[in-house]
């Protein structure tokens, strides 16, 4: 352990403080001023140390003391993370409220993991077993999962002793021959990626229950997706939908520089919801990191690292983790703000020149990997992007798109007409589609892909036809093309639109998605045949089954209704004389 060195403050400019008299390493945590505000070393120049402070620096003056802790910014990893609500540097918000009241005041720290709570530990290794980094030492039931207690990175040797029973995170649960003490808790520096054995192909979808995503632009477990969109287009709602419904085992939700009321909404709705997979309370698989826009920017900058490190920890146990970062633009802005205080040479729009590097380092930390504990784990990252002026050509969006494989483009025009989720089906893409085809074929339906392609083509054709309609009106089109317009409308209004707020519509299992789109496809085929027999389109469009297809998604009995409507549909077309 490095000894704690002390020095003095020579300058305070907002969140950036300069100190003299200490010689820390880059990214060491230092305590600033009499209030002991937490900060991190971000630059060393000559004898000066430049520190970004995670708390408001009002009232701090030159001459006050700084203490180098000798350790980088770390998070505590161990049982007790699930259901927690942290700020950007892993301070538990409920504890802060208890100790300091309704407003976040300064200089208070609280450990990330509860020191008093006891966990029931069952060892899976015995005396004499050889262990190394990532070896599963034993298990602890936590939230909705079994928490696998992993040997820390630097643990290597034979087990000398190991106990079972109830322990706090600091209790010694065993020892190695070398005298190395094993505990339920370990620490990890947030800016350093946790190691794994190797990366694997992400060939299993992260099922989200959101029709437009699963059917048209799927994300793989271990994949990366960006959701850019102007304000109010649906980034947060989409991120929240994914954290509620995606079939990940662990969800890390990072509210990075966004609204306080949104975190409250998560905190009030999540405990009432069930994990769609296990039926247990949703909070039991979730870690929330809430560093809202009015909380200190330096802590906001750190929040995504705190989040991804916790994600890696659960990945290392062999779980599928998904991490939502809302919004990565606020993170980028925090970097910009700190960089500008450092008077660094700016890149585009004032962002630091290393913006692209930081973004890709972050997204590189996800993936589907073989882990040291033997299994396979994954981290999928969904990053919201808030482009200034809603203009996707700005640096954060552009640099993100160069890295991620899935692009869910939110569109203000769609939002204005309340088409939700406002994901533009013409500009969005998923590079995972071809890799995932096989999985869908085996696990949902043989012709999943044909149905998908048919839908995409119909929407594409619609957009071409729309251009003509804008010039001459739809009456000038032949019946068959007007039918294409009508079917595309069915795809948009019935299938693509999905209300996050409707009890039934909010989540749609894959099988149901497939049946739904197939029914629309079937309608289209029957209609085409009818038109070739000169049945007027008006009559086809006013068939009861068309109306029913639009409404059944709101019914509890949707699956049965779909079957009924499909059967009715055939009869109704037959009665048209087709």
């Amino acid at each position: 352990m490095a000894t704690k060195e002390t020095g003095r403050i020579s300058r305070v400019a907002g969140p950036v403080v300069t100190a003299e008299g200490i010689s820390p390493r880059m990214y060491d945590v230092v305590l600033v001023g009499e209030l002991k505000l937490m900060g991190e070393v971000i630059k060393l120049v000559g004898k000066k140390t430049v520190i970004q402070v995670y708390e408001d620096t009002s009232g701090i003056r030159p001459g006050e003391v700084v203490v180098d802790t000798g350790a980088p910014l770390q998070v505590e990893l161990g049982p007790g993370l699930l259901s927690s609500v942290y700020d950007g540097v892993q301070r538990p918000l409920p504890v802060l409220r208890e100790t300091q009241g309704d407003f976040v005041s300064r200089g208070i720290t609280a450990p990330g993991l509860d020191r008093k709570k006891k966990w029931e530990f069952t060892p899976l290794v015995k005396k004499g077993d050889e262990v190394g980094r990532g070896t599963i030492l034993g298990e602890v039931p936590e939230g909705n999962i079994i928490h696998r207690v992993l040997a820390p990175n630097d643990a290597k040797g034979k087990i000398k002793s190991i106990s079972s029973g109830d322990f706090t995170v600091e209790d010694v649960i065993g020892q190695l021959d070398s005298g190395y003490e094993l505990k339920l808790m370990q620490k990890w520096p947030v800016r350093q990626a946790r190691p794994y054995v190797e990366k694997l192909m992400p060939d299993i979808p992260l099922v989200t229950g959101q029709r437009v995503l699963d059917m048209l632009f799927p994300l793989a477990k271990g994949g990366t997706a960006a959701i850019p969109g102007g304000f109010g287009t649906g980034k947060t709602v989409t991120s929240q939908q994914l954290s509620k419904w995606s079939d990940a085992q662990i969800v890390i939700y990072v509210g990075c520089g966004e609204r306080g009321n949104e975190m409250t909404e998560v905190l009030t709705t999540f405990p009432e919801l069930e994990d769609p997979k296990t039926g247990k309370p949703l909070m039991g698989r979730t870690v929330l990191i809430a560093n809202t826009s009015n909380m200190p920017v330096a802590a906001r900058e750190a929040s995504v690292y705190t989040g991804i490190t916790i994600a890696e920890y659960y990945r290392d146990m062999g779980y599928d983790v998904s991490l939502m970062a809302d919004s990565t633009s606020r993170w980028a802005e925090a970097m910009r703000e700190i960089s500008s205080r450092l008077e660094e040479m700016p890149g585009e729009e004032g962002y630091p020149a290393y913006l692209a590097a930081r973004l890709s380092e972050f997204y590189e930390r996800c993936g589907r990997v073989k882990v040291f504990s033997g299994g396979i784990g994954s981290i999928s990252v969904i990053g919201a992007v808030s482009p200034s002026g809603g203009d996707f050509s700005e640096p954060v969006t552009q640099n993100t798109l160069r890295i991620v494989k899935v692009f869910w483009a939110l569109d203000s025009k769609l939002r204005e007409r309340r088409h939700f989720p406002a994901i533009n089906w013409l500009t969005s893409y998923s590079l995972y589609s071809p890799i995932l085809e096989d999985w869908y074929r085996k696990n949902v339906a043989e012709d999943w892909n044909q149905v998908r392609l048919w839908a995409m083509e119909t929407l594409q054709k619609e957009s071409e036809l729309q251009e003509i309609v804008q010039l001459v009106g739809s009456d000038a089109l032949p019946e068959e093309q007007r039918l294409t317009l009508d079917v595309a409308r069915m795809i948009r209004e019935f299938f693509l639109q999905q209300s996050a707020y409707h009890a039934v519509d909010t989540y749609s299992p894959l099988k149901r998605q497939y049946e739904y789109m197939s029914a629309i496809k079937r309608f289209s085929e029957l209609a085409k045949k009818a038109i070739s027999l000169e049945v007027p389109l008006e009559r086809i469009s006013s068939l009861q089954s068309r109306t029913d297809l639009g409404k059944l998604k709101f019914e509890e009995t949707m699956d049965a209704d779909l079957k009924k409507v499909a059967a009715e549909m055939d009869k109704q077309f037959a009665s048209l004389g087709a």
Partner: protein, 459 residues
């Protein structure tokens, strides 16, 4: 007694640089004594062993190298008291109304600490403003921050005033108050607000802060924070429901840009500082509710979009922080429609939490979704009609076109003193929807159509 320094070595725009001081705290309040005997106030922006940088609220005019600089040893505080209700203060918080001095019950930091997200209570009480395009389509709830995005010459003040006059929580009889902060608006505009407050008796329940167009620009950075600190005191100490009107955020942002430029900071877009998002958030996020506390803060910031451009950094960053926006439309205004609220561009993100059975009415969500969809469709058709003529439209399309006109004319348009109940608003929505073929009402559950649709429902 604080020591006075006469070591100013540079004055640039709103900034004063002072050398050879004892250690001075970041954010400390500063008093500068001018040669003519007057004093100005400022705040420390940067402090080091060598130099202290001060931003002067009242502008640097008249300050010279020999002016005396005193550091007051504390950050800016606001004296607050219940007696402030009914008072008119200037942009720095001093009385303007010749009334007695305010005896403070507390002195509070004006840079409010962030509400711990864990301590926040979910805002979900429906506020009825009596304006259909808000209540029906972009419902406001207590604790929300909902700005009005407007443009030069549009009647945003009338909209804000109508809301302030009519806003109520159904069945509620709690104490409420209005905190009004003017930043750089003309005295004529300020008068307009004051007259209305007087006319309706609202002034008795209001605290007014006035920084007018000819007041110092940098003071504008202070005014909203004084107002919000007062609002927090009224809401969370005294348990009142406080409506805060901040106008005009555009002037505030200009002052922020001025400081950034004076400090030679690297700007982000259009010369505005890179931290403008964070800065605006530090005000807007001071709306909300706290668990276990009676009061609430609901914010109505007003901003004029330069060149009616919603992508301009001021409305853009605001929209990213607030829980929606009410957008005033020049088109509707030209058509003579008041309030000219463009529902399609407006949004209330907390609407879902404030509506539905027990809050407004069970059919609220469905009716509003359907009105949106139908209005959007009708508006699209207007473009087409301009090219191909109304005759080329199908029967169905013509109905949508007529619907869009009727929607603007009857739903959006209403009198300045017309206070519609939520039932009236929703019933009006149904009446308009009945102009459309029933099978095109795809967003509404059958059971609601049978219960509320004027021509379908069973009498």
């Amino acid at each position: 007694m604080a020591k006075e320094y006469h070591t100013i070595n540079q004055i640039a725009g709103p900034l004063v640089f002072v050398e050879k001081t004892e250690p001075i705290g970041y954010g400390e309040l500063v008093q500068i004594a001018l040669p003519d005997g007057s004093t100005k106030r400022g705040q420390v922006l940067d402090t080091s062993d060598e130099v202290v940088v001060i931003q002067v609220f009242e502008g640097t005019g008249g300050i010279d190298r020999s002016s005396g600089v005193k550091f007051l040893g504390e950050t800016v505080k606001m004296p607050v008291a219940k007696d402030m209700l009914g008072r008119i203060l200037n942009g720095s918080g001093d009385p303007l109304d010749n009334g007695p001095p305010i005896i403070p019950e507390k002195r509070l930091e004006i840079i409010g600490a962030a509400i711990n997200p864990w301590a926040r209570d979910n805002p979900q009480e429906f506020i009825q403003t009596g304006i259909s395009s808000i209540d029906g389509m972009n419902t406001l709830v207590r604790g929300q921050k909902l700005p009005i995005f407007s443009g030069a010459g549009l009647p945003h003040n009338d909209i804000a005033l109508q809301i302030a006059r009519q806003a109520k929580v159904l069945g509620g009889k709690e104490e409420f108050a209005v905190v009004f902060a003017a930043m750089g608006i003309t005295s004529e505009e300020a008068q307009y607000f004051m007259k209305d407050f007087e006319r309706t008796g609202a002034l008795k329940r209001a605290v007014v802060f006035l920084n007018l167009a000819d007041d110092p620009a940098i003071e504008r950075l202070l005014t909203p924070r004084l107002a919000l600190t007062t609002a927090e005191y009224l809401a969370f100490d005294l348990g009142m429901h406080v409506l805060v009107i901040l106008t005009d955020i555009t002037n505030y942002s200009e002052a922020l840009r001025q400081i950034g430029a004076a400090r030679e900071e690297v700007p982000a877009r259009r010369g505005y500082p890179g931290y403008m998002y964070t800065d605006l958030a530090s005000m807007y996020e001071r709306a909300g509710r706290i668990k276990g506390k009676k009061g609430s803060i609901t914010q109505f910031p007003i901003l004029s979009m330069p060149g009616d451009d919603i992508t301009h950094p001021i409305p853009d960053l605001t929209g990213y922080i607030t829980e929606g926006q009410i957008v005033a439309s020049r088109d509707l205004h030209r058509k003579g429609i008041f309030p000219p609220i463009a529902v399609e561009r407006s949004l209330s993100r907390l609407m879902g939490q404030g509506i539905g059975p027990g809050r407004t009415r069970e059919d609220h969500r469905a009716v509003s979704d359907q009105l949106y969809a139908a209005y959007a469709e009708g508006r699209d058709l207007r473009g087409l009609v301009a090219i191909v003529g109304k005759e080329a439209l199908s029967d169905r399309d013509r109905k949508f076109l007529d619907f869009a006109d009727a929607f603007e004319d009857r739903f959006t348009r209403q009198g300045k003193d017309e206070d519609r109940t939520i039932e009236q608003t929703l019933d009006l929505g149904w009446e308009l929807l009945s102009m459309l073929p029933t099978d095109s009402l795809t967003k509404i559950d059958r059971k609601f159509i049978e219960k509320y649709h004027p021509t379908v429902k069973k009498k």
